[in-house]
């Protein structure tokens, strides 16, 4: 091949191969840098969630150890005052003190419930199955929501981070039922499988358009999805207006380190 054509041929092959190599290297570097970015975002978000749980635990302790004790003392004082009023024969005052004491007792119960719902250690102490049962009882007591709970016979073997995430998702889903579903009954099912667990919160209330992806719609659901993803799980929400809502969270047995 004469020199001129050889040069042209070499140029052509070199340019074709360089385009290929540059594009492949470009794609590979993008994939690698995106993996790095996602890993960093993930660990950052995990740290934020952990800090949030720690803050909730601190608040719960504060409520339990300080506020609740003071409320109990005020209640005792009011009881003593009522007895004194009874003894002095001031029955009208006694009745008013009794009414205030009842209010204070209700306040104490509300504070106790708030502290309990805030504290993540409930899952650690009693396990996810019982924690969900207790959550259902609290929602019935505080919001009048009748929650049917179905749990497996044995406690699922879960990483604590995953168990707390599943618990928080059930809690948020039940909160949504109280706020938006216009119904007084819901059901929670916890299913155990060799790969992981499934939590399902179902209601037959108002429902909504689950396909609506406008920015203002379902920020709470977005947060739940994000939380589920951080625990290597997934969240599926199926709903239609008037047809109720099913929130399904799936989580692996063990989360990645």
């Amino acid at each position: 091949m004469p020199d001129g054509r050889l040069t042209l041929w070499t140029l052509f092959v070199a340019s074709a191969l360089s385009v290929t190599i540059v594009l492949v290297a470009f794609g590979a570097s993008l994939v690698a840098s995106q993996r790095r970015r996602l890993r960093l975002e993930r660990s950052g978000s995990r740290r934020v969630l952990k800090a949030q749980e720690e803050e909730r635990a601190r608040l719960a302790h504060e409520l339990h150890d300080d506020v609740l004790q003071r409320v109990a003392i005020v209640h005792q004082e009011l009881d003593a005052l009522r007895l004194e009023a009874d003894a002095a024969g001031v029955r009208r005052l006694s009745r008013r003190i009794a009414a205030v004491a009842d209010e204070v007792r209700d306040l104490g119960e509300a504070v106790h419930a708030a502290a309990y719902l805030l504290h993540p250690s409930v899952v650690e102490k009693v396990g996810l199955r019982r924690a969900i049962g207790m959550l259902a009882t609290e929602f019935r007591r505080t919001a009048g929501l009748r929650v049917d709970v179905t749990v497996p016979d044995s406690e699922p073997s879960l990483d604590m981070e995953v168990a707390v995430t599943a618990y928080r998702i059930v809690q948020e889903a039940l909160r949504n039922v109280v706020k938006h579903a216009l119904t007084d009954c819901a059901s929670v099912a916890l299913e155990n499988s060799p790969d992981g667990i499934t939590v399902r919160v179902t209601d037959t209330g108002a429902g909504f358009d689950a396909t609506d992806e406008t920015p203002h719609s379902g920020l709470g659901l977005l947060a739940m999805r994000y939380q589920a993803a951080l625990a290597d799980g997934s969240l599926l929400v199926s709903s239609r207006p008037g047809a109720g809502t099913i929130v399904t969270g799936r989580f692996p047995c063990r989360s990645r380190p």
């Binding site: 091949m1 004469p2 054509r5 041929w9 052509f12 074709a16 993008l30 993996r35 996602l38």
Partner: protein, 211 residues
């Protein structure tokens, strides 16, 4: 001269994305639909070009007729993948501008009885730039893994296809008179890279998201 098998394989390569879309068993995304339309156009124009070449009839005019439509389809597909309205509009508006430039080059510069020296490389550079820009901008904001996104593979395949086509035309024009066998060898190199490009596009057509 006997036509090398690699040329036939490259002419049939647009079937790969179509097969990928069929295998995926779901409706492809809007951009992928336009890319599949481009594959159909390529299949028919390549088949016609091969048929004409086998009868020793000049088929260059076919390339000049198909390239503006193919480039328009690709730019439109890429416009649907843009993340901002401004860039969607820019890609959309680039189509009529490109068509005007194409006609002007054909009338003033190109000889439609041979390989394109300027117009086709210009079209390919436009697609290469558009596809590379799409990959770069979308990957910066993509929250899901890139390898699972249809746009990533399809844009990558299109960039590769356009990149290798950029170099081929001017080279073919330069060596055609002195050594036509070198043109065929270059066509073989181009066909090999085209096959890789269509495999990437087919991989994109199989993706569940980002189509």
């Amino acid at each position: 001269m006997k036509t090398p098998w690699l040329l036939y394989a490259a002419a049939l390569a647009p079937l790969l994305p179509l097969g990928g879309a069929l295998l995926a068993r779901r409706r492809p995304g809007p951009s992928t639909v336009w890319v599949l339309g481009w594959c159909c156009l390529l299949l028919s124009s390549d088949a016609a070009a091969l048929a004409l070449a086998s009868r020793n009839v000049n088929n260059h005019w076919l390339n000049y007729a198909a390239t503006p439509a193919a480039t328009g389809l690709l730019l439109w597909a890429l416009s649907l993948w843009q993340t901002t309205h401004v860039w969607k509009l820019t890609f959309g508006l680039s189509i009529p501008v490109f068509l005007v430039a194409w006609v002007a080059l054909l009338v003033l510069v190109e000889d439609i009885s041979t390989f394109s020296r300027i117009a086709e490389p210009m079209a390919c550079l436009l697609v290469l730039a558009g596809a590379t820009y799409t990959i770069a901008t979308r990957s910066a904001s993509e929250p899901a893994p890139l390898v699972g996104q249809g746009w990533f593979w399809v844009s990558g395949g299109l960039a590769l296809y356009a990149g290798v086509h950029c170099a081929y035309g001017p080279f073919a024009v330069l060596v055609l008179r002195d050594d036509p066998s070198l043109v065929v060898r270059a066509l073989e190199v181009r066909s090999g890279i085209e096959l890789v490009a269509f495999l990437a596009i087919a991989r994109g057509a199989l993706c569940r998201t980002g189509g």
